[in-house]
């Protein structure tokens, strides 16, 4: 899945985002020591990836000191966690807690491997979008800790600080500035990257799935006139049209063209900032401009901690989540280990003093959570492929319609 590749890229990037966080905490955590439990003899197994291991170690140390229990941290590749968790929990071999992304939720629920989490009053400390993301069929299934999204990154030497309101404004500003390429957008080469393109697609009012009050339904929402309008736009800006969007751009090419000052704008996530500014280009991060008239709403991804449905120490696992990870200090440690937009409200405000982070926070406020229904896993391949074909010059309307039909047949 495309999201995976982005996850890997995100994990690889750190650094710059750490720059602007040094102010002191404004809301100290209430002391929980009065009812610290005695968990001696209990071992909780927690799956984590390399980047977040040090941060969880801090929370684990506090837990071990106060309760006498043990936390066993197992380091895994982030991209392996979902499959391993789904396969091992039913056999009783899985961990008590694992780190994970919110868009896995539907398939984890379908596999019956996660337990609902009760955050009670701590819930108000988290950004609502992060809780929504981990809510499936009305129940909360994980403790969120970070958000991630993409935004428009602009070269301030070429086009200044101002946020372009529309796609056409952006192209005009860049052309006037004499940029070799007005904008570069990663299409993962021939593979396609609907994730990056999604902000533009939503500005035409064509969401991937129709949503109602309970969240996303499994009804494909990107067909119809709105979808066709987006497809036409994609074709017009593709290789047979103006050529702004091209299938020769992959992740590295994208970042290199921007970093060398050839491109005025790009759409990227926080994980690419280091690569984009490697050659000293001055940047400003703004929300994605609208291409179709409505607000561009990119996907927001949320990361958090799931509890296994087969955990032998479920009470202790919940205790560790709600008392030791849902605290300001633990969330801050997680942010410092792996700087993404924090889901903990106070922390998000605090780190927004960094203009780059503030730009991504602003973009995430326009965003929508990526669907966490199991059907989402089936969408990417056909969706990506149709976009690539249209960018390469296939007839937009019919290619898009065919994709919608195939998708509906596949989802059933």
């Amino acid at each position: 899945m495309r999201k995976m590749a982005i996850g890997i890229a995100a994990l690889a990037a750190t650094g710059l985002l750490l720059a602007g966080c040094s102010s002191t905490p404004t809301t100290p955590t209430p002391s929980e020591t009065e009812d610290a439990i005695d968990a001696s003899g209990v071992t909780l197994t927690v799956w984590t990836d390399e980047n977040r291991k040090p941060a969880i170690e801090a929370a684990a140390a506090a837990f071990e000191e106060e309760t006498g229990g043990k936390i066993e941290l197992v380091q895994k590749n982030f991209e392996d966690i979902r499959t391993d968790f789904t396969n091992q929990v039913p056999t009783g071999e899985g961990p008590d807690i694992t780190i994970g992304a919110h868009d896995w939720l539907g398939s984890l629920v379908q596999a019956g491997v996660v337990s609902p989490v009760d955050l009670t009053e701590t819930a108000s400390n988290f950004a609502p979008v992060s809780l929504d993301a981990f809510t499936y069929d009305g129940q909360l299934y994980a403790l969120p800790y970070s958000l991630e999204t993409i935004a428009l990154v602009q070269n301030t030497e070429l086009v200044g600080d101002d946020a372009p309101a529309t796609w056409d404004d952006a192209i005009k500003a860049a052309t006037d500035a004499g940029a070799e390429r007005p904008i570069v957008i990663n299409t993962a080469g021939q593979t396609g990257d609907a994730y990056t393109m999604y902000g533009f697609q939503t500005s035409f009012g064509a969401p991937v799935f129709v949503s109602n009050a309970d969240g996303y339904t499994s009804e494909v929402g990107m067909g119809g006139d709105a979808g066709t309008a987006f497809a036409e736009w994609l074709g017009a800006n593709g290789e047979k049209g103006d050529g702004y969007i091209s299938t020769t751009i992959d992740y590295d090419t994208n970042n290199e063209l921007f970093a060398s000052g050839k491109a005025a704008y790009t759409v990227q996530g926080p994980w690419a900032i280091e690569a984009l500014t490697a050659d000293g280009v001055e940047i400003k991060v703004n929300p994605i401009p609208s291409a179709g008239g409505e607000t561009a709403a990119p996907f927001v991804g949320v990361q958090g901690f799931y509890v296994s449905s087969q955990s032998k120490n479920a009470l202790v696992a919940q205790e560790f989540l709600t008392k030791y990870l849902a605290t300001y200090d633990a969330q801050k440690a997680l942010y410092e280990a792996d700087p993404r937009i924090p889901a903990w409200n106070d922390l998000a405000t605090e780190v927004s003093s960094d203009p780059v982070i503030a730009g991504f926070v602003a973009s995430s406020q326009n965003g929508v959570p990526m669907p966490n229904i199991p059907e989402m896993g089936s969408v990417w391949d056909l969706w990506n492929a149709a976009q690539v074909q249209i960018i390469k010059g296939a007839d937009p309307a019919s290619t898009w319609d065919k994709m919608i039909t195939d998708l509906q047949a596949l989802i059933g």
């Binding site: 003899g41 629920v109 379908q110 019956g112 129940q139 009470l315």
Partner: protein, 543 residues
């Protein structure tokens, strides 16, 4: 100097041949008479083997996987019997190999075959019991606006219960008896004393896994009205009111939604399905017979793209063997000529691509074939925008080129070896008889080289047939065949198509289907290899 010694030992020798002469009929194990170093070493090794074996047996028994447990018992017993008795001498050499064969070949293949007949995959990973448990916990909803009560866990005559404080009153109850007032409390927070009930210290619960499960499973109704909901706890120290409308009837194998009256029945496909077709999200693994094998042939949308993929797979596998082999052979003949100076250095240079990790080369070539920024268009085609990765035929050509570049040094190496082993007199006789270079190649060199290399060619064919890495890394099977379901691409071979179809990389993994397809591919490759090996026997008769 040493002559006298030699004669001395020669003279001493005659009596000794008598002893070995009778020995061959008796295994050396029978001649063992006492504990030597060898025995101690054997004892130590067998001690380790037994320790691991017993550990494995216990682990398997604990996980209740009786098949593995049984196999481990049999293997361990067999090992002890074979190594500690004097019988069955040949088995001492065979047993380790047989053990590995069982574990790594027979078991893996058997397990794949087993999975192929189930619907194991997304939504069907566990047992039915786990699916019921998941359905009931997913069907439970926290009552809107329910407060969170500090909770004490209490016990009365062996029955667990919950106790809370509400409006200055202590209320307690168990799964059978709804919450009732048992006394008055001085302060808010969890009750510290509950009349009629014994407090269970939280730490006792936490240190006892069985008790934890019981507490989590406990539902205490808050009143006599079953629709008012019940208290449940996630952490043992606080409780909220939850409502569940799903009930499980093990006799009838149904889950009933008491609110709407919908009945979900356990279906043959491992799901709870209601009469109008709605399904509960969590399913379980069931046996589905040959469904997975037949699925490909019953889906009309699949036939055409899959036929295309199959044809390309054969073309790819054949060309991936023939082209590099021909190149390797030609270069081997040329660079075997003694007139060439610096042959050793040149030959070493030829091996370079072979020494390069294949997936790295695939990724590098993907960049080099980029239509706009790639060096191939820039250097060799004067900057023309040739869409190597986007055009189906050019993409096939490109991936084949990469594979040839990667593999021809291997054949160069093999053919050089084979040519150097050719009988020089045969070639000499041929040239005296007036055979030209081409005649020599066709009638002598090629047949002899083929005899030596045919098994390698066949295994290379099998390898290329399933060479997932290069296809996946180079272009991920792209460009997509327009309109093909599952986003199959023009360079997808069967194994990468299976990867796409079974969705193992996305959230909708279907391991049952993937296993079935792998078995089909295995059968195809196995058949071709068997036929080809029979053909090579004919080559040997040629000699």
């Amino acid at each position: 100097m040493s002559v006298p010694n030699d004669t001395a030992s020669a003279q001493a020798a005659p009596p000794s041949p008598a002893a070995p002469a009778s020995a061959p009929s008796e295994p050396h194990g029978r001649r063992w008479n006492g504990i030597g170093w060898g025995f101690l070493v054997k004892l130590a090794i067998m001690g380790v083997v037994n320790a691991f074996g017993i550990m494995g047996i216990f682990a398997a028994a604990q996980a209740e996987s009786w098949l593995i447990c049984g196999a481990a018992v049999v293997l361990l017993l067999a090992a002890d019997i074979v190594y500690f008795t004097k019988r069955a001498l040949p088995l001492k050499y065979l047993l380790p190999g047989l053990g590995f064969l069982l574990v790594f070949q027979v078991f893996i293949f058997g397990y794949t075959a087993y999975i192929a007949f189930t619907n194991y995959g997304a939504g069907h990973v566990g047992s039915q019991e786990q699916a019921v448990q998941a359905a009931l916990s997913q069907g439970e909803r926290r009552v809107e606006g329910s407060p969170t009560f500090p909770l004490a866990i209490v016990e009365q005559n062996g029955t667990l219960g919950f106790a809370i404080v509400e409006d200055g009153q202590i209320k307690a109850g168990s799964a059978e008896a709804p919450l009732g007032v048992v006394g008055t409390a001085g302060a808010a927070g969890a009750p510290t004393e509950v009349p009629g009930w014994t407090l269970v210290p939280r730490n006792d619960i936490i240190s006892d896994q069985a008790l934890q499960q019981e507490v989590i499973a406990l539902r205490v109704p808050i009143s006599d009205d079953p629709n008012a909901g019940s208290l449940r706890t996630n952490d043992g120290s606080s409780a909220s009111i939850y409502q569940s409308t799903l009930t499980w009837d093990a006799e009838a194998q149904t889950i009933t939604d008491t609110a709407s009256g919908t009945v979900y029945r356990a279906s043959d496909t491992g799901n709870f399905v209601s009469d109008d077709g709605t399904m509960l999200p969590t399913g379980w693994t069931v046996h589905v017979g040959f469904d997975n094998f037949l699925r490909l042939f019953t889906d009309p949308a699949m036939i055409q793209p899959l036929a295309l993929v199959t044809v390309w797979t054969f073309a790819w596998a054949l060309l991936s063997v023939i082209v590099p082999f021909a190149m390797g052979l030609v270069f081997a003949i040329i660079f075997n000529d003694e007139r060439i100076k610096g042959r050793k250095i040149l030959r070493t240079l030829f091996i370079l691509p072979y020494a390069f990790p294949a997936f790295m080369s695939a990724l590098l070539f993907r960049g080099m074939f980029n239509a706009e920024f790639g060096v191939i268009n820039e250097f060799f085609f004067g900057g023309v925008n040739i869409d190597w990765l986007g055009d189906p035929w050019l993409a096939r050509l490109a991936v084949l080129f990469v594979n040839v570049w990667l593999t021809y040094p291997y054949y160069f190496l093999v053919c050089t070896g084979a040519i150097q082993a050719l009988p020089a007199d045969a070639l000499e006789a041929a040239s005296i008889d007036g055979a030209g270079r081409f005649r020599q190649l066709r009638s002598i060199i090629l047949p002899l080289v083929l005899v030596a290399t045919a098994p390698l060619l066949i295994s290379s064919f099998a390898f290329s047939f399933n060479n997932f890495t290069i296809i996946y890394m180079f272009n991920d099977g792209g460009p997509a065949i327009p309109g093909a379901p599952y986003a199959l691409g023009a360079t997808d071979i069967l194994i990468s198509a299976i990867w796409d179809i079974s969705g193992v990389n996305g959230g909708k993994a279907d391991y049952g289907l993937a296993s079935a397809l792998s078995i089909l591919v295995f059968i195809v490759v196995g058949l071709i290899s068997a036929l080809a090996f029979r053909q090579t026997k004919k080559l040997e008769e040629y000699q």
